[in-house]
Amino acid sequence: MVTLNDYAPIVGPEVIGQLQRLAERLKDRRFVHINSTRTGGGVAEILSRAVPLLNQMGLTTTWEVIQGDPTFFEVTKAFHNALQGHEVRLSPAQLQHYEEVNRENARKFTWEADYVLVHDPQPAFLIKVMRERARHWVWRCHIDVSRPNLKVWKYLREIVSRYDASIFSMAQFAQNLPHPQYLIRPSIDPLSEKNREITPEEIDQVLNRLGIERDRPLVLQVSRFDSFKDPVGVIQAFRMVRKHVPCKLILAGGEATDDPEGPRIFAEVMEAAEGEPDIQVLLLPPDAHHEVNALQRAADIIVQKSTREGFGLTVTEAMWKGKPVIGGAVGGIVLQIRDYHTGFLVHSPEGCAFRIRYLLHRPEMAQRMGRLAREFVRQHFLITRNIRDYLTLLTLAENPGSRTIEL
């Protein structure tokens, strides 16, 4: 089992000391996380690591998962899409079903807590039936809600307003709510399969298995085949680069199975890549963490040419591996990449092509950017910072109304 001290060589013993001092004051508090899945997705990934660590630090932390039928998850998927701005229609019967499934879960839950952190909309309704089971209720929204569908948001807002506080990943996602809103940036776990250090031999094994030869510089984009990730734009950029500099492009990712446009985008990508032997498109299963790790470490330049992005953890992962990243100037990518310092921000395939060429011709600049990028992630986007934020939040929750708490 990974322990808090395993992170000391990565973040420094002083950071571990800080966490322990913060946690000491919250010793034996009961802290419950609730979400809707034990596996798959970034939330489950972080919780699976954060919950044992919080327990090691002395907080009695548990992780509850609500159960639902396919109809329930259809409704919550519609919530998700609507919060991201899509037009969706939900009937009163569907909303009733959402509420009923939450009530059923509430009947089965036996926990009592000092703090409960409810992740995303799926279990949000629980507060209506379980309010007295915890002293502090906090809603954690992991979704890009910068422009939510108004009807759905009005419905959810009425529920979310009952919480004592809410947490968003970016300032632009914050809403008009009657309680304190906090910002907690997403994070990556440097010891996870996707991010842990791996040997050159392990990297070679993965590349051999995937049939990738390292005879030219590798340019990589890891993302779902989804129009907002603009894989076709990346291919356009690559074709422009190839006129001047020899290199290879790898597009790796899963198909967006919950996106009706997924197969169409994938077909477009295959068509755009046709006849170009130096482009490899890899359709990877969702648990191909080791492969993604190896690909990112093997790449010379990593691209994330999104046209819309919540936070962009693939950028964080690439930066952590000391790679220069060229990212679309949108969402959380702007927060992570400082032009010319920790990477390049681009607005078009032409811009992307230009920056790829720039970095291919200036490997020393690429290395410097990668070094700065890794340090930036070390300071701001690792799981230890996420845990520190949780502990700070719980401390603040115990002292409502105080802006500065001296312990």
């Binding site: 002083e14 950071v15 000391g17 800080q18 001092r21 913060l22 004051r25 968003f168 970016m170 300032a171 632009q172 996602f173 914050a174 809403q175 008009n176 709510l177 304190p180 809103q181 906090y182 910002l183 940036r185 100037a329 949108v330 969402g331 702007v334 927060l335 400082r338 310092h341 920790t342 700065l372 340090e375 930036f376 300071q379 701001h380 520190r388 934020d389 502990l391 700070t392 939040l393 401390t395 603040l396 105080s402 802006r403 500065t404 708490i405 001296e406 312990l407």
Partner: protein, 236 residues
């Protein structure tokens, strides 16, 4: 490196009161309000809690510390990157909130700059889509780091080890606590325990607004080295 000003000083002279380093943990609190153009920025700054100004002018350097200080506050950075108005970014970069007695004065000074600037413009500058200004403030938890320093040697050693949040707390936030833009916790402690007026003045003369927190720490350690002539245990 030998320094001319170095004087013989007993690094192990015990202080009357040990220095207790504090750690501070900032939680950013977005308001859910944004400005899409310069006029909206101005209007909102007139309305919001002054803590919002405090956050965007000073505290935000603790939230996401950039590797370099290109623009020293969020408003200047926004003018440059979102409005793409470098002239305004220059004006806002030169604005030093520590020159004012309180945050109400800071607000008035910011409002004056923006009103003057807008007055002469034919059009209101708009932010690029996706680059709107999102207003925030912050809450803070402060705890004792359990790293006391009883001598200047211990102080130097600890300063090299504590987190940058601690540097922020003792060097930036301290000025509000002391009610003086001149006085930070470090120089206050040195003055009260060891005298050393030249060193105290040199610390108070640091042009802190243009330094990253790491640079502030390095500068402090360098000043102590210059004035007292010993490396004082700070790792190279």
């Amino acid at each position: 490196m030998p320094v001319e000003r170095a004087v013989a000083f007993d690094y192990d002279l015990p202080a009357k009161d040990p220095f207790w380093f504090r750690e501070c943990f900032l939680m950013t609190m977005p308001l859910g309000r944004k400005a899409v153009n310069l006029r909206e920025l101005l209007q909102t700054l007139k309305e919001v809690d002054t803590e919002v100004l405090h956050y965007h002018l000073l505290q935000s350097r603790l939230a996401v510390t950039q590797p370099v200080v290109e623009y020293p506050n969020d408003f200047a950075l926004w003018a440059a990157t979102a409005l793409q108005d470098v002239k305004l970014a220059e004006k806002l970069s030169s604005f030093d909130p520590l020159e004012y007695e309180d945050l109400e004065q800071v607000r008035q000074a910011m409002v004056d700059i923006l009103e003057d600037y807008l007055w002469d413009l034919p059009n209101v500058p708009w932010a690029r889509p996706g680059f709107e200004f999102h207003f925030c403030m912050a809450s803070m938890v402060v705890i004792r780091a359990e790293i006391p320093a009883s001598t200047l040697r211990e102080f130097c050693h600890a300063l090299g080890k504590v987190g940058l949040d601690s540097v922020y707390y003792h060097f930036f936030e301290a000025r509000r606590r002391h009610g003086s833009r001149q006085v930070d916790d470090f120089s206050f402690w040195i003055e009260n325990n060891f005298g050393l007026p030249e060193l105290v003045q040199a610390i108070r003369d640091i042009d802190l607004y243009f330094y990253t927190l790491k640079e502030v720490r390095d500068t402090l350690l360098q000043l102590i080295l210059e004035h007292l002539g010993e490396i004082c245990g700070y790792p190279e």
